[in-house]
Symmetry: C2
Subunit: 180 residues, 2 copies
């Protein structure tokens, strides 16, 4: 059992899906692009790839003595697809934005445009719900906190607000881009 794929696992799966690669090539992606910011160290990548292979989500084909090219399997495609289409919830966003942003980055070459727009809508409303929660806290329980503690909460407030705004703008940009 255990279709337990980590965030790193999905990142690897998505990259392999887009283009079959070696483990080393995958590491280089993490090292040279501001993608999430995953480990890029062999000690995290290779075990994660082995786990994906154990679960039958990728296949490896030896190329020469050492090099191995990794390819996604139909099962892998399906698991990835389910993950990719997940809408953003408040719970997910309050844990961290990393997963959601990763999905967004991978949505680009995949399904119908509407899926991406729905994703962004869910992202925006989840972010706005969090913002409201923080606003309520600052007005309620947090009202008697010292200035500096309030300012610390305000940082979350401001960054999540920027997130929500980004989702709205990204949505507009995609609609406009689609029309052109």
């Amino acid at each position: 059992m255990s279709t337990a794929v980590t965030t790193l696992g999905y990142a690897l799966l998505g990259l392999i899906r887009a283009e079959p690669r070696s483990g080393y090539a995958l590491r280089m992606v993490f090292e040279t692009t501001p993608m999430g910011s995953y480990s890029s160290s062999p000690g995290s990548i290779y075990p994660a790839l082995k786990s994906l292979e154990r679960q039958g989500l990728i296949m490896s084909e030896a190329m020469g003595a050492r090099r191995k090219i990794l390819t996604i399997t139909p099962a892998g495609e399906q698991v990835f697809d389910v993950w990719l289409r997940m809408l953003v919830t408040v719970e997910e966003l309050s844990r961290s934005t990393g997963d959601a942003l990763l999905r967004f980055a991978f949505l680009h070459d995949y399904p119908e445009r509407q899926v991406t727009l729905d994703f962004l809508t869910s992202f925006e409303s989840a972010a706005m719900a969090q913002v409201s929660g923080l606003k309520r806290f600052l007005a309620g329980d947090g009202a008697d906190m010292p200035l500096q503690a309030r300012l610390a909460v305000l940082h979350s407030f401001k960054t999540i607000e920027a997130s929500a705004h980004w989702a709205s703008e990204a949505r507009k940009a995609l609609i406009k881009g689609e029309m052109l």
Copy 2:
């Protein structure tokens, strides 16, 4: 050896320093305030407290049969103080903002106001350095990326920009608050 204190450890140390408490009381803080968002589960708190005690940074005093009140030791004060006065670097901020924000929240009842202002200055310049890096990436290597991948990077850009702006505003608010 090993003055290895985790972020959770510093959070606990800071709370205990502000007011001696039981482990349960500490868990309640994490559960009822939007502080960072640490585990709050017994499986993380109690082992972390035990580790702090092993390192001689806190002391526990039994109150009745089960309840234990935790107090910070002079060694703990010193370790906490060193951590609290650390300035924000680009490396720290690019790993995550959590640590830095935690320090900011704890700076409130502690040293001279100037330390806090210096902290915010370092925070702002680290954030702005990151923003410049992303801007460079978007103009350079990232210029030929598909729209959606660019938008994903733009999310980092916008949120970190909001962070930098927050630091600037927080600094102003503290100076103004000090003058009043």
